[in-house]
């Protein structure tokens, strides 16, 4: 600022007043004094309390699994936005009259806003330090090494600072827009709700509203912290935990043999193909068969079973008189009588009852038959002979399906009833757990949370961009839009 004025010798001399850069230091000094006298320092213990509460909630799962990491990142983002927003929401609107007076006296709006920007950056830096320290104190286990520094806590601290600072500048803009502190505090909840709802991580947004998340600090904050916390390489435990809680739940259902066979014919289904490839049975020797038979109680019972009963003359005569095959034989004439008449007459004769009870064949058990056939002897002699072959579920299913007789049994219903726990035990709990966590994590993979330096820097730049945009808008609003009313 300069003007011309005549000096004692009558020559024009240039009078300069403080420029923008110099004025920044005046206001920065003023704000630092305010930090002590105007209770601005209270934001530091407040941020410690907020960080402590959040730390106690997220400490056990942050950096452990996907859900805990997302929740922890969201919580840290919220803390940073909360701190930032409430730092500066009233700073401009509460001294609107003072700004007007000082602007009248030569204050540059840009110097005033820049001084606030520098002061708030300092405040955010201190709050970030407190927040990171307190979260660590409450038990959040930050992994050892970051992408940019040797301590991940410092890397994440940079992100928290940038989120906090961007939010701070946003509320500085709101403060420049609002005429009174009451108006500013009325607008603030809407700003916070907008930030939280459209963070794009915690709440599933409908497609039409996703565009809003591109304009929220929380979105970039969440992305950068999730990236740094290596979200994509953490296991997703919700699916497995849910299954675990369902152990005692009964499951089951009825289905037909036809449905099972049809399912097993779906060769293009990868899951079915895996089942079809499973092997059934194995090669075994006759010696193993004999061992099994000798040790089997059911085989012992089978050997006791009678396979032939004793036949009597009465049985033979009834067979002769009633069987269809003996019809021709029965009609043979012997003199005036047929053989049938002759036999009927004979069986009716008195005293023939005892004759008819006379046995004509011996009684035999399975064991006696096997002994006669020397089966066990044969098994012992040929104990090294291999029997059987390897087949797959698919081959067996195809064979059953190809059998014309199977058609009769296709509608036969099969009912299965069991518990989730038993199924898990059957399939192998550890195997299922590993599989579910891996598959769920693959499904939850988010390219926005990629743990790469490029991704992190891009999000940092976005946050800085937001902060600068808000500062610029606040300056424009105070400098031009609000000019006549100020």
């Amino acid at each position: 600022m300069a003007e011309m004025k005549a000096n004692a010798a009558g020559r024009s001399v240039r009078i300069r007043h403080r420029g923008r850069g110099s004025q920044v230091w005046i206001y920065l000094g003023k704000l630092l004094r305010m930090f002590v006298y105007q209770n601005d320092w209270k934001v530091l213990p407040m941020s410690a309390l907020v960080a402590g509460l959040v730390g106690l909630v997220v400490r056990r799962r942050f950096f452990i699994n996907m859900e805990g990491t997302l929740m922890g990142a969201f919580a840290l983002t919220c803390v940073a936005i909360w701190n930032g927003c409430f730092n500066s929401i009233q700073v401009i609107c509460r001294e609107r009259g003072i700004i007007k007076r000082e602007h009248r006296s030569g204050m540059h709006i840009s110097s005033y806003v820049f001084a606030h920007m520098a002061y708030q950056a300092l405040l955010c830096l201190m709050q970030t330090g407190v927040t990171m320290y307190v979260t660590r104190l409450t038990g959040v286990q930050y992994p050892a090494e970051g992408l940019f520094t040797s301590w991940l806590i410092v890397d994440i601290g940079i992100s928290v600072f940038l989120i906090s600072f961007a939010a701070d500048m946003l509320s500085l803009l709101v403060s420049a827009l609002a005429r009174t502190t009451t108006t500013a505090m009325t607008i603030m909840p809407f700003v916070l709700i907008f930030q939280l709802v459209f963070s794009g991580g915690m709440l599933t947004l409908p497609a039409w509203s996703e565009i809003f998340s591109h304009f929220t600090i929380s979105n970039y904050g969440l992305k950068v912290i999730c990236s740094q916390a290596d979200y994509n390489n953490r296991p997703l435990v919700t699916a497995w935990n849910t299954l675990e809680r369902m152990r005692d739940q009964e499951v089951g259902g009825s289905f037909t043999l036809g449905q099972v066979l049809d399912l097993l014919q779906q060769t293009d289904n990868p899951a079915v193909a895996e089942i079809r490839a499973k092997q059934l049975g194995r090669v075994f020797t006759l010696g193993e068969v004999k061992e099994k038979l000798d040790g089997s109680e059911s085989y012992a019972r089978l050997k006791q079973k009678k396979v032939a009963r004793r036949l009597t003359l009465g049985d033979l005569s009834r067979l002769f008189l009633n069987a269809e095959g003996t019809k021709q034989l029965r009609s043979i004439k012997v003199g005036d009588f047929s053989l049938e008449d002759l036999v009927r007459t004979l069986v009716r004769l008195p005293g023939m009852q005892k004759v008819l009870e006379i046995g004509v064949t011996p009684e035999m058990t399975v064991g006696e038959v096997l002994d006669k056939l020397q089966v066990e002897q044969l098994l012992a002699n040929y104990s090294n002979v291999e029997l059987g072959g390897v087949t797959t579920v698919g081959e067996a299913a195809d064979a059953v399906a190809a059998n014309p007789d199977t058609e009769r049994y296709r509608d036969r219903s099969i009912t299965v009833k069991t518990t989730v726990g038993k199924l898990l035990d059957l399939a192998g709990e550890d195997r299922v757990k590993e599989l579910i966590q891996r598959k769920a994590a693959e499904a939850s993979f988010n390219p926005d949370y990629e743990n790469s330096a490029d991704n992190i820097i891009a999000n940092w730049i976005c946050l800085i961009g937001f902060a600068l945009l808000y500062v610029f808008l606040a300056t424009v609003i105070l400098e031009f839009i609000d000019r006549d009313k100020r």
């Binding site: 009078i15 305010m34 003072i98 006296s105």
Partner: protein
């Protein structure tokens, strides 16, 4: 009703504008703005969400998956805006009931069937409004003045044609035809009733809120060279606009850094702060926080902040408000001393008579019948007494104030007379 209130009846046929005009009839113009804007949005939302428009949109769009959500959102906005409309419409009705002087039970009818009371009040001679919307052009022509003053090369020359603001598409004239020349070294009293535009005039004079005017300070155009000349003007606002949690000395040091030339050595700047604290009796309070000071002490700090740059034009908006007689007198004495150093000091005060002997001149601003701030007089105290035929300043104010404000309502008369005296 519009005809009775002096509004063109054709406005009754225009949706949204109708409610605004009705609010003007009810002497509730600000509420009318909100009502008409809210009504406009409600109508737009209703049209957008109407079945016919929806059918057309569904037909035109290939992908309308998000349309139902958008409609729901519009409905929510519609509900919010409707609430605003109802509240402000209620205020307008209350105003109408007051203007027509009828019982409050009419409100029920206005809420549920507005056309019925509107027709009854409009047709029946029994119902007459106590307030009419004034034709601003007619009023302006009734109290028209013109002219200007020539720059004398010394002091403050003001030739203000008008100071206007535009609110809700309407131009409002806040000040009009104010011409004067104040010599250096004069202490001037700025007098006027409430709403006469005293603060607006001072803001226009110091160049912060520019008017259609030419303001010359020692022949230099303040408006054109505002950035250079703003340090030559000290404006002390009515309220103590200072940061309460800063000490007196720190406040004055910052004021010195901001207002004094950059090349002034730090030691000289500190000395100036010490001198100003001495002049205004603030030395014993230098380490005290501004919040801890009494009203009078705060006033002194506030004045000292502006005085620190040694301005040529010193403007004070009610510096004695909240001060007792003794303190006010003491403060005015200090201002007199400042004026005696060759500076112009312009002061607004509501208790002028106790310190009138300290002033050289008086500016009287009055609100004319078009509600515009006008110059009713500028000259010495003695001439003012003769011009208005009053002995005290308070009587002068009473003479120019409207009857409704307890005055004599002679503003238009004095404005016209002074214009005649000033410009012939």
């Amino acid at each position: 009703m519009f005809k009775k209130s002096g509004v063109d009846p054709r406005w009754a046929l225009v949706p949204c504008a109708r409610s605004y005009m009705l609010a003007r009839c009810a002497e509730r113009e600000p509420e009318g703005r909100v009502t008409s804007v809210a009504e406009f949005f409600v109508v737009i939302i209703r049209v957008l969400t109407s079945t016919e428009v929806m059918a057309y949109v569904l037909h035109a769009l290939k992908d309308y998956s998000g349309l139902s959500t958008l409609m729901l959102f519009l409905d929510v906005v519609g509900v919010a805006v409707s609430i605003v409309y109802v509240v402000y419409w209620f205020r307008v009705i209350t105003g109408l009931i007051e203007v027509y002087g009828v019982r409050r039970r009419w409100m029920v009818l206005w809420i549920f069937a507005e056309y019925v009371p509107a027709l009854i009040w409009g047709w029946s001679d029994k119902y007459q409004p106590a307030w009419k919307v004034e034709d601003i052009r007619e009023a302006l022509s009734r109290v028209a003045t013109s002219g200007s003053v020539a720059d004398t090369g010394d002091g403050l020359t003001v030739n203000l044609k008008e100071r206007t603001v535009t609110e809700f598409f309407q131009k409002k004239i806040l000040l009009r035809d104010i011409h004067m020349n104040i010599p250096m070294g004069h202490m001037v009293l700025l007098l006027g009733g409430s709403g006469a535009g005293k603060t607006t005039f001072l803001n226009a004079v110091n160049g912060y809120e520019k008017a259609d005017a030419q303001v010359l300070l020692n022949s230099r155009n303040l408006y054109k060279q505002y950035k250079k000349m703003q340090y030559e003007i000290g404006f002390v606002p009515q309220q103590e606009l200072m940061r309460g949690k800063d000490s007196v000395k720190a406040t004055l040091m910052d004021a010195a850094r901001l207002r004094m030339p950059f090349d002034v050595p730090a030691s000289e700047r500190k000395q100036r702060v010490e001198d100003v604290m001495e002049i205004f009796g603030l030395k014993p309070l230098e380490g005290t926080l501004v919040d801890k000071l009494s009203g009078g002490q705060k006033k002194r700090v506030s004045i000292a902040m502006e005085f620190i740059s040694n301005p040529s034009l010193f403007i004070l908006d009610e510096p004695d408000s909240g001060l007792d007689g003794v303190m006010a007198r003491e403060l005015m004495n200090q201002l007199r001393k400042i004026a005696d150093t060759g500076k112009i000091v312009i002061v607004i005060t509501h208790t002028p008579d106790r310190v009138i002997d300290l002033f050289d001149d008086v500016i009287v601003l009055a609100k004319d019948s078009a509600r515009t701030g006008r110059l009713a007089f500028y000259g010495s105290i003695e001439k003012a007494r003769a011009f208005f035929g009053k002995q005290s300043m308070e009587e002068i104010v009473k003479g120019i104030n409207s009857v409704a404000e307890g005055g004599e309502g002679r503003a238009d008369e004095f404005i016209a007379r002074y214009a005649e005296v000033q410009h012939g």
